[in-house]
């Protein structure tokens, strides 16, 4: 939307620019290298912390007995075909899709609802400040705390069961995390609880940026509250919603700590995710080649999502 005009001096001294060519020699070369000097710390860090590990993992995924043996064998795409033929992998994919899809939608709905409540003019500033603090609390806890907290709340002798049985809503203790019927729902609920404040705060900022004139004009034209929401609020928030949903999708597909610390992928594999599946391959089966292949598959999925995220960002700009 906006254009930036480079200062004339910068234009003339850019790498490969006319002035460099005109000046030539050692001095010109030094000037041409200045931008790369600025970039070098970032490039070095990205190379060491991202490029090299990614390339190594891709390399590992093509080798057998890697890490565990000094002379691993090249096996091509064997690990990929093994993984894609594995029932456990597809169970993990299905669980991850459910966990991620439900989490992202619920995060969005809850985040938007709370953001709108906090943006209302019906409440005073002090009341809103109190609620803002309460609503944002789950975001302040680390995953370990969240896992321990909810394990205690949801255990058969926990507070939730006590409340349910005391109020006669449940006849006996429910094994929320221990039963194959409820475990996936329970971990998804915990993830929703811990993640909605991210949406809430971002959407609240977005809501506060929508000019009041739009709503006033719509009201003058006789638009109902629902019409104002669907015709003004949602379109105005759309770029934020798309960006956040994509980011959330990427992060949630990679959720490991919460699952590991609450159910460990059980019971009976009902909460097995791609992350726990990969971890078990690596650190309990010591099949680092297969684990690397699984990690590369997750990387590819993340890159596809990242592509859409970047495209959404570009469209927004």
């Amino acid at each position: 939307m906006s254009t930036t005009t480079l200062p004339a001096r910068a234009k003339r001294t850019g790498p490969g620019g006319r002035r460099v060519q005109a000046t030539g020699g050692k001095k010109g070369l030094v000037k041409a290298l200045v931008p790369f000097g600025y970039l070098s710390p970032t490039v070095v860090l990205l190379t060491v912390l991202m490029v090299i590990p990614i390339v190594m993992v891709i390399g590992y995924s093509l080798m057998d007995n890697v890490i565990m043996k000094k002379n691993p064998q090249f096996v091509g795409f064997k690990h990929y075909s093994d993984i894609l033929a594995s029932d456990s992998f597809w169970t993990a994919v299905t669980n991850t899709l459910f966990f991620t899809g439900v989490s992202v939608v619920a995060h969005l709905v809850l985040g938007l609802a709370f953001a709108m409540m906090l943006n209302t003019e019906l409440l005073g500033h002090r009341v809103k400040a109190i609620f803002r603090t309460i609503y944002v609390l789950p975001w302040l806890f680390t995953v370990a705390i969240i896992a321990v907290l909810w394990r205690l709340l949801l255990e058969p002798n926990g507070v939730i069961n006590y409340l349910l049985t005391a109020s006669h809503l449940a006849g006996s203790q429910i094994e929320w995390l221990g039963s194959p019927d409820t475990a996936l729902l329970a971990v998804t609920f915990i993830n929703i609880w811990s993640g909605y404040p991210f949406y809430m705060t971002s959407l609240l900022a977005g809501l506060q940026g929508i000019p009041a004139d739009y709503y006033e004009a719509a009201q003058v034209d006789g638009a109902s509250a629902w019409q104002r929401f669907t015709r003004i609020t949602l379109p105005q928030l759309k770029p934020i919603i798309i960006s956040m949903a994509l980011l959330d999708f990427i992060w949630t597909t990679q959720q490991f700590a919460l699952i590991w610390m609450t159910t460990g992928g059980g019971p009976l594999g009902t909460t097995e995710m791609l992350s726990t599946f990969t971890y078990k391959l690596a650190f309990t089966k010591y099949q680092f080649g297969t684990a690397s292949a699984a990690a590369v598959i997750v990387l590819v999925i993340s890159m596809v999502l990242a592509f859409f995220y970047v495209r959404a960002q570009k469209a927004r700009d």
Partner: protein, 434 residues
């Protein structure tokens, strides 16, 4: 000016590279900076990675290291401490990268894999080179005739019994066989108020419940899950009988709810809070239970066996084992630390702090005589046979996990005991085939 700036950038980049390079540097380094005296330059710093320090009273392990440094001038010890799980990951990654600490804390369940990886030094050779008297060792973990791990401290897993609950339930004596145990568990569960007779943690993220709480029933009756060192599950009457016994308790509602995702710590909490009458657990938790519930009256007993069994009762145990890294440049010094920790008095001191049974056969820690619970446990330990068939097996944790998955399906009524055993056998055979 710009030249200076560029030079600055270059220095920054070099520093960044150096910093990242340092992260994967060698495991040992001279303690003194370059340019110091030659005597100081000969100093050796041993890295000792373990999970023991956080589980011991403050400064207990560091104090012993200070004593070692005093007795061995020129050798310093740097403790690398972390939780159990991260120590394992650190050892695996360190072995792959050649940056494994010189001395490492080991669990018997890891040894086979690390030996295959070539990451552990052969302790038999180091013992020979140091003229170390092996007869003082209570146990050694060996593979292919060589020792790779020495158990420093042993934590046995007897049965804990809540005396008050047992009394309330009208159970006159601590159960000694499965029939008595079943009756006691049912009576305890009948007390209501969400009290259960027994507790069984089967969480698959830490599947050691299979070793401590399931296979212990096999071992306590003289059974085995192996035949000639190979998996023996299909057609194994002892294992099937233990599974059916547990399934009976499960179906009767005598086991605390939430087993499938329950962890060891949850088990201890349930017992400590008086919601469970009996559990099989490590003696290492005795003090924790006492601290958290001062009023709890409990005792320890041998794990019940099948009715009529009169042989030696196997009792699961876990060890704080020790090994030396194959990539260590100071293996002789590293073994000095190992032999120091295995010395009669030092081992007794360490085990006294850990409330563990000593790895040195001649050591007798004070708590064994001063504390009635530990005295009782020591008697059971001596009368029985410390057993852990998972020690030294390949991918031992994964063996527990694959059995756990099948066992959970069996408990949930999704398959028969025979099918569970056959499926677990298949998984174990594949793991052994490597």
């Amino acid at each position: 000016m710009r030249k200076k700036f560029l030079a600055g950038i270059a220095v920054m980049a070099a520093a960044t590279l150096a910093m990242t390079g340092c992260a994967s540097g060698s495991t040992t380094a001279p303690t003194s900076a370059a340019g110091s005296t030659s005597a100081a330059a000969e100093d050796v710093t041993l890295e000792f990675a373990q999970w023991w320090e956080p589980e011991l009273p403050a400064n207990a392990l560091r104090g012993l290291m200070d004593q070692f440094e005093k007795e061995n001038p020129g050798i310093k010890v740097k403790l690398i401490s972390g939780p159990y799980a991260s120590t394992k990951e650190q050892v695996v990654a360190g072995a792959a990268a050649g940056t494994m600490s010189d001395v490492v804390g080991l669990d018997g369940a890891w040894v086979n894999d690390f030996v295959k990886q070539g990451s552990l030094a052969n302790l038999s050779e180091l013992m020979k080179a140091a003229s170390f008297d092996e007869s003082q060792l209570a146990a050694q973990v060996q593979l292919d005739g060589s020792t790779w791990m020495i158990p420093v401290a042993n934590f046995v897993y007897p049965m804990f019994v809540n005396d008050d609950l047992l009394k309330k339930a009208g159970v006159a004596a601590v159960p000694t066989n499965r029939t008595e145990f079943t009756a006691a568990a049912a009576a305890l569960t009948k007390l209501g108020n969400n009290i259960a007779g027994w507790v069984l943690p089967l969480d698959s993220s830490a599947p050691n419940g299979i070793q401590n709480d399931v296979m212990s029933w096999v071992w306590s009756s003289g059974g085995s899950m192996l035949k000639d060192g190979k998996p023996y599950l299909t057609g194994n009457a002892d294992v099937k009988s233990a599974m059916e016994f547990i399934k009976g308790l499960y179906d009767a509602g005598s086991i605390a709810k939430g087993s499938f995702t329950m962890k060891e710590q949850d088990k201890v909490n349930e017992f400590t809070n008086g919601r469970v009458g009996m559990m099989i657990d490590s003696l290492a938790h005795v003090n924790l239970i006492r601290e958290q519930n001062k009023d709890l009256k409990f005792q320890v007993a041998a794990i019940p066996s099948v009715d009529g069994y009169s042989g030696k009762r196997g009792m699961p145990y876990a060890s704080w084992g020790i090994g030396v890294a194959a990539n260590s440049k100071h293996q002789a010094e590293a073994f000095k630390l190992v032999s120091f920790l295995m010395g009669k008095d030092v081992n007794a001191t360490l085990c006294n702090s850990a409330h563990a049974f000593p790895g040195n056969a001649q050591s007798v820690p004070d708590f064994v005589n001063s504390d009635p619970i530990f005295k009782q446990a020591f008697e059971i330990y001596q009368a029985g046979a410390p057993t852990n068939e998972f020690t030294g097996l390949p991918v031992a944790e994964d063996l527990m996990r694959s059995f756990d998955e099948q066992f959970q399906k069996y408990l949930a009524g999704k398959q028969s005991a025979d099918d569970a055993l056959a499926a677990a056998q298949k998984a174990w055979d594949a793991a052994f085939a490597g």
